[in-house]
């Protein structure tokens, strides 16, 4: 048995950024990652700020919570820029603006209402009529009636970002155990003991503190300590086209239908936005669903007709985590040395900020934001 100051469960963006802050402050850190859901770093790289209409439609009862969480999103996007500077690596972050497009007057009115509420909450958002929209986004097709523009939205290259952080952690001496599944967590002395199965063998680790940053796997880990966190894995389809000359400048979404589109620096257009993928086999490997490929790309071509001449060359199934629409961030009830760190919707946008706040909590510092309502205690059964 070997002891670490902090064990971080989950090697995705949240776990890695938490480890980054802890290691910089001299803590000895080990990251344990299951590596099942595509190494948990199958991100698409959107920086979301405005409320995604898909969540408003799917979970109308969560809208109030979504609005309360809204200020966190511009802070999350700003934090990405700070992280880029700290890493000293170009992550291709572009704040080129995000458009949520409407097909007709009714959808436009829905967006106008959303826009007004978001403005009151401090977002830099505007409604654009067709003529004005055509000027800044000539790639949009005739079917688009108008759009809401969110100035601070954008994108980054997730492959570069994940790799830059991974290399930085390595240089800081953070240990990493991939393809390792935590099978038990239990209090031991002043710390926590974790039992793992790792590539066919069993081993155990002890740490003074544990950060649960395992996305949809967080619920299962918290349950080992008798705490309920209702994380649900939502496998989602992503399409990637072959590279083309600069075509789509913005992060593009739709007022009523599920889609996000953006063009990355190398020229490929990444198209996703919530079309379902599925899990297959005993290991629940995320697998794409051809029906989602068709529906998603068909909608993409409807919004940006010129995409029609490009070929789709790659797809993957990313795993989104849903809870109740808000972050689950804070001390686990009954466990002073275990913290959960699950971003609310748009986990990659919020990831580094949530990682930083979790590290601050573990070090007994102010996380810098009011996180009282994100506490995992909210899921505890009354009585």
């Amino acid at each position: 048995m070997s002891g670490f100051d902090v064990l971080v469960a989950g090697g995705g963006i949240v776990g890695m950024t938490a480890a980054f802050d802890l290691a910089r402050e001299g803590r000895s850190v080990i990251i344990v990652d299951e590596g099942r859901h595509s190494g948990t770093t199958a991100n698409a790289g959107s920086l979301h700020i405005q409320m995604q209409s898909r969540f408003i439609r799917m979970y109308p009862e969560q809208v109030a919570d979504l609005e309360r969480s809204l200020p966190l999103y511009p802070a999350g996007a700003a934090h990405w820029r700070a992280l880029e500077a700290e890493l000293g690596v170009d992550l291709e972050i572009k704040s080129s603006g995000g458009l949520m497009v409407a097909d007709d007057a009714e959808q436009f009115a829905f967006l106008a209402d959303k826009c007004a509420r978001e403005r009151r909450l401090g977002l830099d958002v505007h409604m654009l009529e067709r003529a004005e929209l055509a000027r800044i986004a000539p790639y949009l097709g005739d079917a688009v009636h108008g759009a809401e523009l969110c100035v601070e939205e954008g994108k980054l290259n997730p492959l570069k970002a994940n790799e830059a952080i991974r290399m930085t952690l390595q240089a800081l001496g953070v240990q990493r155990l991939d393809e390792a599944v935590i099978t038990a967590l239990s209090p031991a002395g002043h710390g926590i003991e974790a039992r793992l199965s790792h590539r066919g063998g069993q081993r155990s680790l002890s740490a003074g503190q544990v950060i649960l940053a395992a996305g949809s796997g967080t619920g299962q880990l918290a349950a080992m300590l008798g705490v309920a966190i209702p994380t649900v894995a939502e496998p989602l389809h992503v399409n990637v086209t072959e590279a083309t000359a600069p075509l789509i400048g913005h992060l593009v979404q739709h007022a009523e239908r599920m889609i996000t589109m953006k063009q990355l620096g190398a020229g490929q257009v990444v198209i996703g936005g919530g079309w379902p993928a599925r899990f297959t086999g005993p290991e629940e490997f995320p697998t794409v669903n051809p029906a989602s490929m068709i529906g998603n790309l068909s909608l993409a071509q409807h919004i940006v007709p010129r995409l029609g001449s490009l070929r789709v060359i790659r797809t993957w199934a990313g795993v989104n985590t849903t809870t109740d629409g808000q972050c689950v961030l804070g001390k686990l009830p009954g466990h002073d040395n275990v913290f959960s760190a699950v971003p609310g919707d748009a986990g990659y946008t919020l990831g580094p900020l949530v990682g930083r706040m979790a590290a601050a909590l573990a070090m007994g510092r102010d996380p810098g934001h009011d996180i009282a309502r994100f506490t995992p205690a909210r899921f505890a059964k009354p009585g």
Binding site: G39, G141, R166, E242, T244, V288, L297, G308, R311, V312
Partner: protein, 561 residues
Amino acid sequence: MSDRLTITFEGRKVGAHPGQSLGAALAASGELALRQTAGGDCRGMFCGMGVCQDCLVTVDGAPNQRACMVKAADGMVVRRQAAPGETPPARMGAAPILFENLQTVTADVLVIGGGAGGLSAALAARSCGLDVLLLDERQTEGGQYYKQPSAALKAEPLDRQQRDGAALRQRCEGAGVRIIDGAETFAALDAGSVMATHAGRTAVYRARAMVIATGAYERAVPIPGWTLPGVMTTGALQTLWRSHRALPGHRILIAGNGPLNLQVACEVMAAGADVVAVAEAAALFAPARAGAALRMALHDPSLTAAGLALMARARRGGASLRFGQVARAISAVKGGLEVELGSATGGHGERFVVDVVALGYGFQPSNELLRALGARHDHDPGIRALRTVRTRECETTVPNLFAVGDACGLGGALAALEEGEIAGLAIAERLGARSPAGVSTNAAHRRLEGHRRFQAALWRLYDAPSPGLSLADDATLICRCEEVSKAALLAAMADGEPSIGAVKRRTRAGMGRCQGRYCGPLIAAHLAEETGRPLDERALFAPRAPVKPVTISDLVGGSPP
């Protein structure tokens, strides 16, 4: 041959024959450099069969067209393509469709692939009265063994191999097999259905049983200079001559491992090319291999004799035959490509200056659809590839999903013919169809056994250590599409025993248009060697839809016009 037509390439007029691919017409007129990569390199045709995506050109304003797959048409304006290509204006705004709106085409039996195995399976199932639908991605089916010329080319068959292919196709058509040419199968939905694009539209093809006969593509062995225009696979060189009657140059050097190289050397010599040398990695005449040679002669004396005759013909034609040697490096020099031969383990050898270098190191099964459907595969060290687990009747571990030919384990075209017949008849029995009087699979099983024994001996005769990444230098690109060097890949692979997916995300290797078909097996083999990871299905990149790049407007062009 047919009349000439004219295309323009970069403003220059180039002649072509109807039925020829653009790539063939351009190669015959000396235009081998077809596109520029993001890294600034020039690329030309490499695989010649639609897999590598290196021969992309802009045709009449449409970018990203594979020169090897597009037929030349009079007046076509072809341009060299810089990376990334421009996106042309939209053809037409279409209303969004859903999967549920796609047209569904049904049959009793669906056969994917129109090579020896697919045609044979289709014919056998059809002979029992079943409604058989065969999808082939090429405009002229026949696969990579029969390599049929397009009808428009009006070319006489070159030899028995090509005559046999034409005859088998005619028998299928005569028997009423429904053949759809130019249909790209890009996704498998379940054991009996796939999605394919054809003529700019997508449809779901559904049947009670399915035969996957998707063949194989050539294995990559990266060496310095292997991405230069004029360096292509032996199969590409063979396709240029057999299917398009075009030669990409006069002086040719062929190097690699396996019997195809000598055959193609003789074919292009007969066509008038000057094959200066053929390098074969296996030392065929080493005493240790005598047993294998003897077993081959025992199982198929006529094929063995044909092999020896090929050797004699190549020598008579002036080709220098180098056994136990490989091409170690290629560089562009004034007047062509300079190739350095030598032993696989090191040392400098003789240099040749040629127009074209053909590299042939055997094949890799095209098993993406099978793996996507969850059919089990085991790694076979004998063929250094995955072998589909099948019953004696060629059924995979997924019920009603059959697989025949090279797609499930590189048995060669003659074995594929027998497997096709066996699978076709087994499906007929499964579906309760009546086979014609007197037909039994006993004879086919007997012939198949003979072919398999011959193949096994042939593999032993040609056995040579796989060069893997060993012939590449640090700067040699391993992932041709995303231009990832050996040094970058080795660094990523040495860092913490990563999975192949992690290597892909770290380096972008395998994220390009060929979908990792060339670099994937190399990375998997290296990781297996270094980390002891098993070489199972999970060792390769996940076989996700689309298993071929598909144009979005074709993909979502599902509703009837």
